[in-house]
Point group: C2
Chain length 369, copies 2
Amino acid sequence: MRTDLCDRLGIEHPIVGFTPSEHVAAAISRAGGLGVLGAVRYNDPNDLAAALDWMDKNTDGRPYGVDVVMPMKAPTEGSIGDLSALVPPAHRDFVEKTLHELGVPPLPASEDDQDGVLGWLHSVARAHVEIALEHRPALIANALGSPPADVIAQAHDRGILVAALAGRVDHARRQVADGVDIVVAQGSEAGGHTGEIGSMVLLPEIVDAVGDQVPVLGAGGIGSGRQLVAALALGASGVWMGSTWLLTEEYAQGMPGQTAVSQALLKASSADTVRARIYSGKMARLVKSRWTEAWAAPDAPDPLPMPLQNLLVGEAHRRIAAANDPDVVAMPAGQIIGRFDHLRPVAEVIEEMVAEADATVSRLGTTRS
Amino acid sequence: MRTDLCDRLGIEHPIVGFTPSEHVAAAISRAGGLGVLGAVRYNDPNDLAAALDWMDKNTDGRPYGVDVVMPMKAPTEGSIGDLSALVPPAHRDFVEKTLHELGVPPLPASEDDQDGVLGWLHSVARAHVEIALEHRPALIANALGSPPADVIAQAHDRGILVAALAGRVDHARRQVADGVDIVVAQGSEAGGHTGEIGSMVLLPEIVDAVGDQVPVLGAGGIGSGRQLVAALALGASGVWMGSTWLLTEEYAQGMPGQTAVSQALLKASSADTVRARIYSGKMARLVKSRWTEAWAAPDAPDPLPMPLQNLLVGEAHRRIAAANDPDVVAMPAGQIIGRFDHLRPVAEVIEEMVAEADATVSRLGTTRS
């Protein structure tokens, strides 16, 4: 299964895999796809540097990418202390009360000194980009659309392609005008930050709008070879997958404290996700849990805007992770998680996808009248 | 473009088209698809009988279908008067106030004597089935899942296939166990009653669950040949389309008072729909308008359950239709409406779809590694 994207990125299969785990990202690249490491969880940019150093040594010289979370225009931004002061006390009370009701204990004092996921902050995302530029990614992707113009320019100076996620056709048009090289058309099925338009409608719409200028990847609901071929039928040059990798052996091994998350995702059906603003302040799809249900209750407050919501729930997320209860998780995940009931190695996922895709194309050939 | 569905239904292309217009339904069947007439709008079953008589004469002997709205178990049901008494006065006040604010005038006294869409009532849906059985449909479809067992039995006695719409895999499994012959896997992108799972995920999931027993149709977001091929790639035997036909010449001609609706749909983007319970009491996707926005406002009441909500808004729908204002419409429509900017004849829609589907299959053949 080859498309123009393969030549463009120097990869074997038109499969781009986003993941917060450097072990998964490297395995995707080694298996012939493009592994894209999510930087947002690295509060200390030095940790991202270490992860990319490791990937440089563990990808057999194959290309990989880095994903940052960066609005095009830098927001007004104070220190963590300034920002935390903007979180209403009633919101803090709701979080504390909810965690208590869900049986999530406080953290040990030694671990209670972090500040949530700082990657949502523009200054931290900037540091992530600088670290990425010091390595050899083939691609820098931005979850929030076009990165700032100078980031695009610096990437292009180094021969690095820039990708952006788009949930609406007007966003895709603007990204291409801004100089983005690859548009990821992300349907509502996707995990994490996601819009309302389903892949079946969004993907061909974005292809028709910008596909003559840039390759378009299909994202949202992709986890099998049939779905890869469906995306290609809709005009994509390849696919961008995220949730599928959460249920791989490398993810379970490489991300500590994910036992409860794995269990929650394995037992979830495709109906067990919900879109809400409770994770970061922007709409994101999460696996349903007692935590997401608490935020959907009539007495729950409205979530705060980005980046305040993540400052509000950052400690809660760490407490939830430490409690390791499959019924109480705070985890972005797409509807595709309903299709997986056991952990597989990354290489097997890609091998099966490509084989199924080839078989699907053969099957379709018999339908011509 | 042929699949096993074509042989099963005696049609040329694997395209099933749902529409409330007998003119559109007949045109779909004449063009080689299967036109399925929505019965729910026929308050007087004799009007449905007349429409089916007309279709018998205007489909060149080709097969067609009928779609009813019928829960498997008959709900407790009083007279219209009894039911209307259950509508809270505050809800009536909200509707009246909203229509006033939106500039929607009362109906002339002569037209102010109807009772909303009665097809939501089980007794009326039963009458629709009886009328259908007196004609020669190849298919009876039910928007609310499995029809009652005796309806399935009567249809089978007459050689009529029974189809049901499913928005979740557990619904599909139950339908097949109930004796349904064709499952329509309807993704969240669809117009009208629809679930939360996107077509990209739902369709292969339902195919894997029941596709070895019955043909599965892909619905939700289908309006082009590429989307038809995507559905086939995902394992469907064909597609079920609804919203696409709302923007055909036959619909505009055959459904009086639809000028404002056509204008509203033509100007809508794929982002201009919303899922809400305001149309019937069950979740349905509608085109966004000042009417849907009013129901989303903080002061709006929660919609009533089916069938009360439609009794509440039935007169409002007629007033809105009479006012003929493209900014104030109450119209079920799927996300695919964003792709159409002019009215086309039904035959052209189908011809273009099939040609694009054939071209897409050819294109996919070149991607094999």
